[in-house]
């Protein structure tokens, strides 16, 4: 335990990927740093999926345990953040399926994933500013379908870029742009009533 307290100040200055390397080498105490860094983000992310209270806490714990078990599959040349968000995404989607006993909206045959899209520029914000969309999302999140909700949450609340969202959801980068654009249009419609 004493060794951990000596290492920790050094580790806290390292980036996620460097800490992950330590965990991969078997240093379980380094994993504590990652848990502390990502626990608030994962809890917030779970809440956006309406996993609150004990259920949300259990799910976040499960995400970290899965991250620990699979940490050696993490490619340290890439960013840690999309990797752990991918685990969280899978965990939430599986639980939504269990809860609602229905298929995930993002199926193999989703047309968004099958066809190329021309509208996918990262700057295409449809005249909305971030604060405006965040406000709308806070009020109308429950009325949006999962397909559009998740990219919007990742983009506006988790500050992910298109590539990172594509890596979390395993969809083409251009599809991220299309879903954000359609999601914003839906939000606008919902807000207008």
């Amino acid at each position: 335990m004493q060794a951990a307290t000596i290492i920790m100040p050094e580790l806290s200055e390292q980036n996620d990927e460097e800490v992950a390397i330590q965990v991969q080498k078997g240093d379980i105490e380094s994993f504590r740093i990652l848990v502390e860094r990502y626990e608030p983000k994962m809890t917030r992310y779970a809440k956006r999926f309406f996993f609150d209270g004990d259920e949300g806490k259990d799910l976040v714990q499960e995400i970290f345990i899965k991250a620990y078990v699979n940490i050696k599959s993490f490619d340290v040349s890439r960013r840690f953040s999309p990797w752990i968000y991918r685990i969280a995404h899978n965990e939430f989607v599986n639980n939504i399926k269990k809860r609602q006993k229905e298929r995930n909206n993002v199926s193999v045959f989703d047309f968004d994933v099958l066809f190329p899209h021309l509208v996918a520029k990262e700057t295409a914000d449809d005249g909305f500013n971030k604060a405006e969309v965040k406000g709308m999302l806070d009020h109308s999140l429950s009325k949006l379908s999962e397909k559009y909700k998740e990219p919007l949450v990742l983009y506006y609340f988790e500050d992910m870029d298109y590539r990172e969202i594509a890596d979390i959801l395993h969809i083409p980068i251009s599809t991220v742009g299309v879903r954000l654009q359609r999601g914003r249009a839906m939000l606008k419609k919902i807000v207008k009533g």
């Binding site: 991969q24 078997g26 379980i28 105490e29 994993f31 504590r32 848990v35 502390e36 626990e39 806490k57 976040v60 714990q61 970290f64 345990i65 620990y68 078990v69 699979n70 940490i71 050696k72 599959s73 193999v108 994933v113 099958l114 066809f115 190329p116 899209h117 594509a166 890596d167 395993h170 969809i171 083409p172 980068i173 251009s174 599809t175």
Partner: protein
């Protein structure tokens, strides 16, 4: 107790172990091996489709105008074509875990696959692979394989397969695989094709049966006979 302590305690108390790197390497290799096997299977089926179209004459039907396109569509081995598409879909699902695949829309991946398969088919001559398989199967008597390669047993409207038995100045006689003979008259536009035919050649005649054992032909293609 802090949440991070709870997680670490849970990992320590439950004796949770990290999966070793070799587990992920083995899984990746399994996926790649599966994809390679699927690719070979798709390639085999596609070359077989080309071979079947060459042998049943469907591939040449499009040379003789839009009327023969119906013949071409009829000659396509649809079940094999759909099976190949299903295998491509399975291959895509298998490889979808990799960024290089999921970053692209499915249609791009499909297009790349079609190009790669076409190139592979170009370099691996369909007739030499499947002709060879059929000859080997015939010599060693594998009736199941022989059956798959028996294109002559499925005659189609507008296409007549047979061996040239007699050549005249404006017509020729063919004997089909069932031993029946027909006289073939070439329409004036196709009469030059007579010069390319010799008695004993295996041919596919595209045309219409105008009377008993008489065919008005819009075109003739010489084929290799593996039967």
């Amino acid at each position: 107790m802090k949440d991070s302590d709870k997680v670490i305690n849970l990992i320590k108390n439950a004796g949770t172990k990290m999966r070793p790197r070799r587990y992920f390497v083995a899984r990746a290799m399994f996926v790649i091996l599966g994809a390679v096997l699927l690719f070979c299977l798709i390639l085999f089926f596609v070359t077989f489709i080309i071979f079947a179209l060459q042998e049943n004459g469907g591939l040449f039907a499009t040379n003789f105008g839009p009327v023969e396109w119906g013949v071409f569509l009829e000659s396509l081995p649809w079940s094999l074509l759909l099976l190949s598409l299903a295998l491509i879909l399975i291959m895509w699902i298998l490889l979808r875990r990799y960024a290089i695949v999921y970053h692209q829309p499915f249609l791009y991946t499909l297009l790349i696959l079609v190009i790669v398969i076409s190139l592979a088919c170009f370099f691996l001559s369909a007739s030499s692979i499947h002709g060879g398989i059929f000859r080997y199967a015939s010599r060693n008597q594998f009736p199941m394989v022989e059956g798959v390669y028996e294109f002559e047993t499925t005659p189609m409207n507008g296409m007549y397969r047979g061996q040239v038995t007699l050549l005249a100045t404006s017509s020729f006689i063919i004997k089909n695989p069932f031993g029946q003979t027909s006289t073939v008259f070439l329409i004036p536009a196709a009469s030059s094709e007579l010069g390319q035919i010799d008695p004993g050649d295996y041919v596919i005649v595209f045309g219409r049966n105008v009377a008993t054992a008489t065919i008005d032909a819009a075109g003739v293609e010489t084929i290799e006979d593996y039967q």
